[in-house]
Subunit: 310 residues, 2 copies
């Protein structure tokens, strides 16, 4: 790992950039930098050069763009459209696993049609955050022969855009979803059977995000269970899943190694970055994170998961 | 590990022995051998000699006693009282984490006052299943200087017998509870803070059972996160937590080693045994389990949790 900008292969990240207002039992943050692509880009930037594709409105603060640039994120794919930036307002009660939405204003994000600058089109690593699977597919058709495509998805698309989602699952090497979404997509309460069914739809790996309970990897060869990290200082869980995903693809691009061992390490780095992200509001913790801290917590994950063989 | 009866130090197990009628989406079992002490005793018996303290009614089938004897369990502490055996009837829907009770008939269990035969009183390892903490304390006062006492508890006692439970926490070296119970006992949503508070109440270790999400160990020195096993063939989750606890104390008695490394291995053995137990109705799977299967799945847990260090 290297300083901001990373040193691996490049990663394209496509998703939302937003202004978030969030209240939790531990405080409140007003109009902070948010959105799935933001968290993913910041997390990935610790491992590899990141190229961002998103749309913001004319009201988007220059300071937020500067925050992304400070992490070496290439913003030439960020369109500044007439109108207001996507805004989300929500709160969490003591069950921090459950976000309650107060308001969602899609604004310019409603007409988001991802357009990759020519310089992005040979990017070998592609992360598609949980936008409309039709938009995810349009990104796939703009990238020339990517080495690895990871897509995230969510309950809304499973229910409302199933054909496009299934097509996307045929195009992606790795699919991310949470446990409820996997059960919903496959209509089975059994997570293992759901994961097997998703694998049969095309991807070579399915990663199930379980929030505070860790993450599971399913491949045709086997399983990996990443440890759950004992979070003591959760202040704002917003963006944890996107941070996980960004670190995942960032690390895979950094190693440029598609093996299962590399994927397991990438999942632990994803968990490490997500565990830091929730320690402060918005992406504040990511913006002051150091490589030394990342390595230290990765080692802590190793200690937490350690037990003797027989 | 050795054949039935184990080869370690002896373990006293105190709790319920019941007749269970259970329906799940995968079938139904009528009046099968059940109860917390049953599952714990059967699981522990793979590691160490087990001494059971429980009460059954005159209707209790000889075949069930024989099943326990076949695993080498010492039944001299099992009282056969006038009346009917404790009966529980329940069902699970597709969410197998949630048991729905149809009926509970305490019968002879209502007046259960654990009495240890003189030969049991020097037993070095003691497991107190989730009975009334006043009864747990009465067992403590009957055992001479045990080396290790583990107690389980549940939401009912936290709400209704708090002073006795707190006294019990001062007497136990290791406390087991599930995540909701830890949050309830300490009135905090944060599991890490809850665990810290429980440690401050007396025990040297707290183990949080999270069902399909694995188990967490908290000690003053650190944390351990046991991997969640990808269950493909769950048919009946009844007794999983008690099986976990029984294997835990059985393994600790087998090694007679109080170190954290030994405790971590014991937790993995607990997870292994619970993962087998849920594969069939009642304790049927435990009753046909082999040591080779236990070792094989322990190794599988190692493979599931493996990731490279940095």
């Amino acid at each position: 790992m290297k300083a901001a900008g990373g040193s691996g292969e490049s990663v394209v990240i496509v998703g939302s950039v937003a202004l978030d207002t969030v209240a939790t039992p531990f405080g409140r943050a007003e109009s902070v930098l948010g959105g799935s692509a933001t968290y993913a880009a910041l997390a990935a930037s610790f491992f590899s050069p990141v190229r961002l594709v998103a749309v913001v409105g004319e009201d988007f603060p220059e300071a937020h763009l500067e925050a992304l640039r400070s992490r070496g994120v290439d913003l030439s794919g960020v369109e500044i459209a007439a109108g207001a930036t996507f805004r989300w307002e929500g709160y969490y009660e003591f069950d921090l696993n459950q976000a309650h939405t107060v308001s969602t204003e899609l604004n310019v994000f409603e007409r988001f049609r991802p357009k990759l600058p020519p310089a992005y089109r040979d990017t070998p690593y592609v992360f598609l955050a949980n936008i409309d699977p039709e938009l995810q597919l349009s990104v796939c058709s703009q990238v020339h022969a990517p080495r690895l495509t990871i897509c995230d998805t969510m309950n809304y698309w499973i229910a409302n855009k199933r054909p496009a989602l299934l097509e996307m699952l045929r195009r992606a090497e790795i699919v991310l979803m949470n446990d409820a979404e996997a059960r919903q997509l496959c209509e089975t309460p059994n997570l293992v059977m759901a994961a097997r069914q998703v694998l049969a739809m095309g991807p070579r790996a399915v990663i199930i995000k379980k929030g505070e309970h860790g993450a599971l990897l399913f491949t045709p060869e086997g399983h990996f269970s990443a440890p759950s990290y004992p979070l003591e200082r959760v202040r704002d869980p917003t963006g944890a899943g996107d941070t996980f995903a960004g670190a995942l693809i960032g690390y895979l691009a950094y190693t440029n190694d598609p093996s299962e061992d590399s994927l397991r390490q990438a999942i632990v780095y994803g968990s490490v970055m997500a565990s830091y992200n929730v320690e402060d509001f918005g992406p504040a913790r990511l913006l002051r994170l150091t490589h030394e801290e990342i390595i230290a917590r990765y080692r802590e994950f190793g200690e937490i998961a350690r037990f003797a063989a027989v």
